[in-house]
């Protein structure tokens, strides 16, 4: 029990920051109280990745999580409540430097997809994680941030609207 409380206290101290650094780029940061190799492991092992990528509040489970984490390797994430109609996210890894950096494409949205760069910087046993989403244009950023979050509902609603 104490271990859980301690981890909660650590979580409370670490802040997530989000900043739009240009009309094409969004940067998210957070510090983790652990060496970079552990944060990297949690990001690159599918069994671990599955446990944190989809926020619980969304109430959807990850149906498939295939990750070939190496330069040129592909990934595919599928989630949703209906296995017959999964929501898919896929792309390929452009660069992978163990315990330091992962770069991947987001290809589900076609040409408007962002290139995501994650860096793991270890300092005194803690790791500063920086996630950069770089979109090909400012319009793609506007379309993309909506897609990232409201995707399933948004698509359903658009379907509905277009059928009227």
């Amino acid at each position: 029990m104490d271990a859980i409380k301690e981890s909660e206290a650590a979580t409370a101290k670490n802040r997530t920051t989000v900043e739009q650094t240009s009309e094409r780029e969004i940067v998210v940061t957070r510090t983790f109280d652990a060496p970079a190799r552990l944060v990297f492991e949690a990001w690159t092992q599918p069994e671990l990745f599955k446990r944190w990528w989809v926020p619980r509040s969304i109430g959807m489970s990850l149906l498939a999580c295939e990750m070939d984490v190496r330069p040129g390797g592909k990934y595919r994430l599928a989630f949703g409540n209906d296995p017959a109609k999964p929501l898919e996210f896929f792309g390929k890894y452009l660069d992978v430097v163990p315990n330091a950096r992962i770069v991947w494409t987001n290809d589900e949205g076609g040409e408007g997809g962002a290139v995501t760069t994650v860096t793991f910087q270890e300092m005194g046993g803690k790791t500063l994680l920086v996630v950069r989403d770089l979109y090909p244009s400012k319009e793609a950023l506007v379309a993309g941030h909506g897609a990232e979050e409201g995707m399933p509902e948004a698509l359903d609603q658009l379907d509905e609207l277009l059928r009227r």
Partner: protein, 121 residues
């Protein structure tokens, strides 16, 4: 806690996901226009443009008003500005992810410590 995405915001984002509809918003940002004007500018049928304007209207991004036989479209400015709140939602998404990642990382840390002890014994 991250709240479930609001249907209105989702409709807005969905409406913004189409290149023609974004073009229509840009156009209306410059001046009000009739459906016929817009259809001409975007080289579309009247019916096709009405559908797009319908989606934008449903999402609350555009308002239309019929005067005589002409339906004029305007940008619903106030609503569009509200959408800049997206950055808060982005923050909530990542914060929620990272809280869960924190738990996973803490577990790995504990496991490593235990394994280390076992190896020494």
């Amino acid at each position: 806690m991250v709240k479930h995405a609001s249907p209105r915001l989702d409709a807005s984002f969905a409406a913004l996901s189409d290149v023609t509809r974004r073009g229509v918003l840009e156009q209306l940002g410059r001046a009000d226009a009739s459906i016929t004007d817009l259809a001409g500018k975007f080289d579309m049928t009247l019916a096709g443009m009405m559908k797009h304007v319908g989606v934008l209207e449903q999402a609350g991004l555009v308002t239309t008003e019929k005067v005589g036989r002409v339906r004029t479209c305007k940008l619903a400015r106030r609503r569009l500005q509200e959408e800049t709140a997206w950055i808060d939602r982005y923050h909530q998404l990542w914060d929620s992810r990272f809280d869960a990642l924190d738990e996973v990382v803490e577990e790995l840390k504990r496991k490593e410590m235990t394994d280390g002890r076992n190896k020494r014994e």
